[in-house]
Amino acid sequence: MRYLPHTEEDIEEMLKTVGVANLDDLYAAIPPDCGSKRELRLPPALTEWELDSHMAGLAAKMAASSEYKVFIGAGSYEHYIPESVVQLLARSEFVTAYTPYQPEMSQGTLQAIYEYQTLVARFLGMEAANASMYDGASALAEALLMSIRISRKNTVALARTVHPAYRKVVQTYFSSTNYRVVEVPYLGNGGIDLSVLPAQGDLAAVAVQSPNFFGCVEDLKRIGEAAHEAGALLVVCFSEPLAYGLLKNPGSQGADIVCGEGQSFGIPQSFGGPGLGMFASNMKFVRNMPGRLVGLSKDRNARRGFVLTLATREQHIRREKATSNICTNGSLCALAAAMYLASAGGTGLRELAELNHDKSEYLKFELTRAGVNLPFSAPTFNEFVAEFPAGFASTHERLVKKKIVAGLPLAAFYPELENHYLLCVTETRSKTDMDLLVREVRP
């Protein structure tokens, strides 16, 4: 096997040094009743070339872009990824390194993560960002736990327009605790209904997603004021960070903790993972933050360098009193995001965001002209909800045969939204793709 360097001679010599007769004797300490009574039943090892053909066969059974035109976002977005980002990210000095515990040998990772933290903080309008979380869903769960640690209250209000999967993950993280989640309904325009915000003083946080799961831009300023009035922190979550290339950032609107999914920034969709949990807050809360942090420091010759810092919050030092159990996070995905943001630049990102918005507006307009109802009036970024006539499921099916996936049916997530579909248009969908879709759905 090409990954195993040992020759017969090596093995013999090493066994002699160790003082055992054969490889099996290395396991003499293992009681026989723990042992495998039979050989592993695994398929015969494949050569590299056999693996290629086996995997190509599996990959061929996927309706992936660009062959298929998939008009779905809902937490996973198809954006172009520059080849420069792909190739830089494949630098094996980044790929095959561990968490940068030994700073002198990891300055590449450390500076790159420090830059990532800086770009994320600036982009979201916050003072500090961590080195990453697993994904947007776990980042939200951790943000709510953080708000509970800060406030010492045990209830959080969670908008029903937050991604349904994120809300389920929050439920799971809370399921073994005595913390409570109160769901806040949405209004007819698709935004959060502040009038039913629980008034009680035991609210740790109000968590809202913007753009929300329906694609609607929330009025963060107003929600923040209401949250703060109720003595709660404002947690702003997102699944499409590109929106903040155009919209006012959450920090400028009064957010206390901002978290979300960063997959849009240079990370392939990969059937939902790995993604990137982005996480930011202001400095006054930083000691309550979960996850790794990289800080600026100096070496003993006063030269600039970077280290992992504030480790006393972390699981390996603080044990059961840690702010989180997270250890391996999503470093390489954070690097991808930093490379992507550096490549786009501020102006480029603005232009890209505008293009996403304008294209999605084009599809909205054309669908409306074709008689499709758009139930929510709030402004949207690059996705929106459309209500199709009853029986649209068969049209959806017919479109699949033409290699178009016309949005995500919402009834499974919101039973009241029968015949409603969530559609997404990024820069990767052309006017031609959209015209084709509209032609097919026109009654």
Partner: protein, 484 residues
């Protein structure tokens, strides 16, 4: 004598991203605009993001230079104990990047995603076979999330049987993340000390086990690199009082094909695909931490689960006892592709890989135990743990020695962990290191030990050959500067 790998070469300086570039540059090809502008209301629009603007070549040079300040498994030996820094096969990267996988939307209708679902279904079966467990969830995104998943399963199991429990036994030789994972789940960790042989004595467990203890979190092989020989008796003690046995399987690389967790009394076990199954660590993620369970705990696994319907595969949420979801979608699918590719490439050689990992660790142990203090002198599994006790005399510490190791061209082992060994030096060579490289590493350590006596300043001033000298970590924590 052979040359050590450590050397100096031309390393280039590189400023911070925002110290370079000029307003007006862009390093990305922006797509053609084929629709009219349709501006949002002014009051929603923010400032143009405050991000540096660079050309493509500036971005490329920036990260290429930064990468040369790093050390990875591809650079050299990385014997970081407990982290299993084995070689990460290149073909695995290629498979995960196949457009059918990398370009797949997670909400594709199941019939359009059969390739991914087949892969997940088969990977679950393969991991079940390797561990000897009955059912698997691939959803946890890392080892610590796998631990949390395991703890939530214990919690749900006890709640479901009508008697919720509040405590969990965590030995001093368990992984560092274990207490935090248990606490996140609301359990109070009960610490138990290992015996003078570095393993758990059944009596120590019996002494703390009662009807309020949900179970034990045991790392096997443990963080001293020793197999918990009493695991069967310990499991019996736990089971007799209604508890469950959770095994942190981060050290599975030692025992593939030799130990059947199912037969050892384990009820729940997580695996780290980024350790045992060769997926790269990526400077700290993304990883993957599948959870394997015995049949009777299967109803509690996270949803959605991949199910088989005839010749087709689908995702199902219809598991009323499930602990719920831990990931927005189905876990780190891209990492699963790599682990699956590895298992298919290795086949039954997985057992050979484990035995070479154990051979390498024992070889290093034997070759160094005359110069480094070995607190538990017995056959080890995939890693061995020394301490700096012999070097104290020269006022040279573990930290000093491993910093000096960098100058020799090796990544340091894990240090000061496990906590049961003061000044611990935890070495896990893995099976992919050749005998010549192990011999060089051994020579390097022996040379450093000699320097500790004769030229201690070489060590206390190390490293000299890295881009930066020894970093000040204390000052960084005292006055945190997290952004520039």
């Amino acid at each position: 004598m052979k040359e050590f790998p450590g050397d100096t070469g031309l390393i280039l300086n590189e400023p911070l991203l925002w110290e370079k570039g000029r307003r007006g540059r862009c390093g990305m090809s922006l797509p053609r605009r084929d629709v009219q502008p349709s501006p949002l209301p002014d009051d929603l629009i923010g400032e143009v993001p405050d991000l540096p603007e660079l050309s493509e070549v500036e971005v490329v040079r920036h990260y290429t230079r930064l990468s040369t300040w790093n050390f990875g498994v591809d650079t050299g030996m990385y014997p970081l104990g407990s982290c299993t820094m084995k070689y990460n096969p290149k073909t695995n990267e290629k498979q995960a990047a196949l457009p059918g996988f990398a370009g797949a939307h997670p909400f594709l209708p199941a019939r359009l995603a059969q390739g991914a679902l087949t892969l997940m279904y088969e990977l679950e079966l393969l991991l079940a076979e390797i561990t000897g467990m009955d059912a698997v969830s691939l959803q946890p995104a890392a080892g610590a999330q796998g631990e949390l998943t395991g703890m939530l399963i214990l919690h749900a199991y006890h709640r479901n049987s009508g008697s919720p429990r509040t405590k969990i036994i965590v030995p001093d030789t368990a992984h560092g993340t274990n207490p935090a994972s248990a606490a996140l789940c609301g359990f109070y960790p009960v610490n138990v000390r290992s015996n003078e042989q570095g393993i758990l004595a059944p009596e120590a467990i019996a002494a703390v086990m009662d009807e309020d203890v949900a179970g034990i979190m045991i790392t096997n092989p443990n963080t001293l690199g020793l197999f918990e020989e009493n695991i069967r008796q310990i499991a019996e003690i736990i089971h007799r009082k209604g508890g469950l046995v959770y095994c942190d399987g981060a050290n599975m690389n030692a025992v593939m094909g030799t130990v059947h967790s199912g037969d050892s009394g384990i009820d729940v076990q997580h695996l780290n695909l980024h350790k045992t199954f060769s997926t790269p660590h990526g400077s700290g993620g993304p990883g993957s931490g599948p959870v394997c369970v015995r049949k009777d705990l299967e109803p509690f696994l996270p949803v959605p689960r991949v199910i088989r319907q005839g010749d087709e595969f689908a995702l199902s949420d219809d598991f009323p006892f499930s602990i719920g979801k831990l990931h927005a979608f189905y876990g780190n699918f891209g990492v699963l592709v790599k682990a699956y590719s590895y298992i298919l490439s290795m086949g039954a050689e997985l057992k050979t890989a484990s035995s070479y990992a154990v051979l390498n660790a024992n070889y290093v142990k034997e070759k160094l135990k005359d110069v480094l203090h070995l607190p538990y002198d017995r056959p080890c599994m995939h890693e061995c743990v020394f301490s700096d006790r012999f070097q104290k005399e020269w006022k040279v510490s573990t930290l000093d020695m491993v910093k000096r190791l960098m100058d020799y061209g090796f990544h340091p082992p894990t240090i000061y962990f496990p906590l049961v060994v003061p000044g611990a030096i935890m070495i896990e060579p893995t099976e992919t290191e050749s005998k010549e490289d192990l011999d060089l590493f051994i020579d390097a350590i022996r040379s450093i030990v000699r320097e500790a006596e004769s030229k201690p300043e070489l060590i206390t001033e190390a490293p000299k050959r890295c881009r930066v000298g020894r970093m000040d970590e204390t000052e960084a924590a005292r006055h945190p500067c997290l952004t520039g």
